[in-house]
């Protein structure tokens, strides 16, 4: 039974990768490139210690973003606002870290706490709107993204929080070295694996534990399955909505930190702003399961990093975007087909059981 379940959950991702390779091959042939050569050079580059480090670092960011989305999905909440939550969290966290001159052991936890609180607070607005006013979180979070962009822009351009960090680039004050969370050059002597990589593994384990081994996790999953059933069994659905949204936002607040504290050192106006959308795709790929999400994040990061090498060989980097898109579509479709088949076979079983009863009666 367990083996069968594992089998069905592996079929979809494998199918996704397979079909996306096929589709990409056709496109590559159409633009007069050699698919085999392209794929082998992607893998060759991706297997180098240097590229692997870049992949792990980027995957750390994607993993956190997908977890933030996944915890919402578990409760049928669609948090599209991760973008706004993490950019705001990273901006405020960066500004705080830039003004602190404390030892790393104090500075980094403070930065993390600030970013999580800001992310949670921003998501909390959507949560309040949902429970108090019935506003769909899909609408409110996407609107809050725009507001976050405007707030960040105003803060960095017009207040004393912003500085010109280099010509034509404005950002928060550079974080002193003691406030950074540098990594370790584990694979490649010249490139560090972000310290946040290890933190995010711990967060992944914690996520699994809370969801599957605590009363709160049970309530959350129950509410996600059926809000009415959960209510009748005494779960306060509104309270669950608010708490889940806050956790989702707090996780989202972390998304910008691996890059901010491991590399950038300042939240400037070139900071990437759409990692939240990547998180949605990866949460779908990984079926909200932390291991599935980790694999999805690594795959996504591999494709992104390898696209830099591809373009040097004259293949447009957008090829990897196409692969990512096809993988998501195929995987989501196959999960849905598997689900429908399961529902059908369950219905058949029930019908058969009922027939038997009637006959014996």
């Amino acid at each position: 039974m367990n083996l069968r379940r594992l089998g069905t959950s592996l079929i979809a991702p494998l199918l996704g990768v397979g079909i996306s390779i096929a589709v990409t091959s056709v496109i590559l042939i159409a633009i007069h490139a050699q698919p085999l050569a392209v794929f082998s050079s992607m893998i060759k580059y991706g297997a180098s210690a240097h590229a692997m480090t870049l992949i792990l670092n980027l995957a750390t960011t994607y993993f956190l973003s997908a977890l933030a989305v996944a915890i919402g999905f578990k409760m049928n909440l669609f948090n599209i606002g991760v973008n706004g939550q993490y950019t705001l969290g990273a901006m405020v966290g960066g500004a705080v870290a830039g003004s602190l001159h404390l030892p790393t052991i104090l500075s980094v936890p403070i930065t993390i706490a600030v970013a999580m609180i800001v992310g949670a607070g921003w998501a909390g607005i959507a949560a309040w709107l949902k429970v108090a006013r019935g506003v769909s979180e899909v609408i409110s979070t996407i609107m809050l993204n725009f507001i976050a962009t405007a707030i960040i822009s105003y803060t960095i351009v017009r207040t004393s929080v912003g500085h010109e960090t280099s010509l034509n680039v404005r950002g928060t004050a550079m974080i002193p070295e003691s406030g950074m969370l540098r990594g370790i050059p584990l694979l490649d002597p010249k490139t560090e694996i972000y310290g946040f990589f290890f933190i995010s593994i711990a967060i992944g384990i914690l996520y699994w534990f809370v969801l599957n081994r605590t009363r709160f996790g049970y309530d959350l999953r129950a509410t996600g399955h059926s809000a009415t059933a959960a209510r009748t069994s005494g779960i306060d659905a509104k309270r669950m909505t608010v708490i889940t949204m806050l956790i989702s936002g707090a996780l989202a607040g972390l998304v910008g930190l691996p890059y901010l504290l491991g590399d950038a050192g300042s939240y400037n106006l070139n900071f990437p702003t759409d990692w939240g959308f990547t998180g949605i795709a990866i949460a779908l790929l990984g079926r909200n399961n932390p291991i599935g999400i980790a694999v999805g994040a690594l795959l996504w990061a591999f494709l992104d990093v390898a696209s830099g090498q591809l373009i040097l060989e004259g293949v447009p980097r957008e090829i990897t975007t196409i692969m990512q898109g096809v993988i998501v579509i195929v995987v989501v479709m196959s999960y849905e087909i598997v689900r429908r088949n399961q529902v059908k076979s369950e219905q058949k079983n029930v019908a058969r059981a009922l027939e038997k009863q009637e006959v014996s009666a």
């Binding site: 962009t149 405007a150 280099s166 034509n168 950038a264 070139n270 830099g308 090498q309 373009i311």
Partner: protein, 343 residues
């Protein structure tokens, strides 16, 4: 110059000897060849904006034809980080590309890091300053070119009402607006100038929302504006569409490239009075030529009016009527009798 040609031909012979017959590049025997490999990194989506990035490409392709250099172009894609930009520049330098030219200020941190790793490679960056011995920082006095098109706009306007469309609301683009305003007011102190930016600072969509620029331009035209200047990268297309839709008597002013002659904008050319040129092409070409000649261009290179680094284009004969006024302003700026504001 002569030294350059000599060195280039020595290099070319050396290149042919080294690569023997294996090379597939430059089939024509009369064209100059060089073993210099130029790596060019655009930001985000790169080429195709008909403006800033395409101006950089024009310089690159001129170097390809005139100097026979080999070229490689890459772009950073959306949601690029300093890490991914640095990796692109590193890959280029590693593969022997020299010079490596980064187009756009977003590369400044990444380029500073890459330049330290490859001290023997010449790097260049457009619109930013990176302080390293092997980096050429190419900066432009965009406000001066904008002043000149401001003079043209105010002279051409019948309604005494003109418009400005900016890309991202950052100091770099505000300098375009400041110069344009000052130039226009030097002709008509009472002129009305509408101004609209396509995105707040940090809003990366600002350079690529032509539909938004179209709506904004159409609004300005409804309010009575008859000349509009856009410094908004790929968003500028929307301004051209709106001006064309408004019909004769309305003018658009382009930016960075001579947009009258940009093939993808040919449909709108009759409405493009002039363009405030920011000669990224000249700057890029100079960097490449410096490496070919063995005298790399490093340090801060300020491309202003005196250096022909900025200017206004005269490809559309409709601008002839306003040439005298614009040329007089240009002479005054060069002489220092006019100082153009940057904010």
């Amino acid at each position: 110059m002569l030294k350059g040609v000599k060195l280039a031909s020595v290099l070319a012979v050396a290149a042919m000897a080294l690569t023997a017959c294996g090379s597939t590049a430059s089939p024509s025997s009369s064209a100059p060849t060089s073993d210099v490999k130029v790596g060019m990194a655009y930001d985000q989506d790169g080429k195709g904006d008909g403006s800033f990035n395409d101006a950089a490409y024009a310089g690159l392709s001129k170097a390809q034809t005139d100097l026979g250099v080999q070229i490689k172009e890459v772009n950073s894609g959306s949601s690029a980080t300093d890490a991914s930009r640095e990796e692109l520049l590193t890959l280029l330098a590693q593969d022997g590309y020299n010079p490596v030219i980064a187009v756009g200020f977003a590369y400044s941190t990444a380029l500073a890091a890459a330049a330290t790793k490859f001290p023997d490679t010449t790097f260049a960056i457009v619109d930013s300053v990176v302080d390293a011995p092997n980096v050429g920082s190419l900066v432009f006095a965009a406000e001066q070119g904008s002043y000149l098109v401001g003079v043209v706009a105010a002279s051409a306007s019948k309604t005494g009402h003109i418009g400005f469309i900016g890309g991202m609301e950052i100091d770099l683009i505000k300098a375009f607006e400041a110069g344009y305003d000052q130039g226009a007011k030097s002709v008509n102190p009472n002129i009305v100038i509408d101004s609209k930016y396509m995105g707040a600072a940090g809003d990366n969509t600002a350079w690529n929302v032509p539909e938004k620029a179209k709506a904004a331009s159409a609004g300005m035209i409804t309010n009575g504006a008859d000349v509009i200047y856009a410094a908004a990268g790929g968003s500028g297309l929307g301004m051209f569409q709106a001006v064309k839709a408004a019909g004769a008597g309305h003018w658009a002013i382009g930016v960075d490239s001579d947009q009258y002659n940009v093939p993808s904008l040919a449909k709108y050319k009759d409405f493009i009075l002039t363009s405030a040129e920011k000669r990224v092409d000249t700057a890029v070409y100079d960097v490449i030529k410096g490496v070919v000649d063995g005298t790399p261009l490093t340090g801060v290179q300020n491309f202003d009016l005196a250096k022909d680094g900025v200017g206004y284009s005269t490809s559309n004969s409709a601008v002839d009527a306003y040439k005298a006024a614009a040329d007089k302003a240009a002479a005054d700026i060069k002489a220092g009798t006019i100082t153009v504001n940057t904010k």
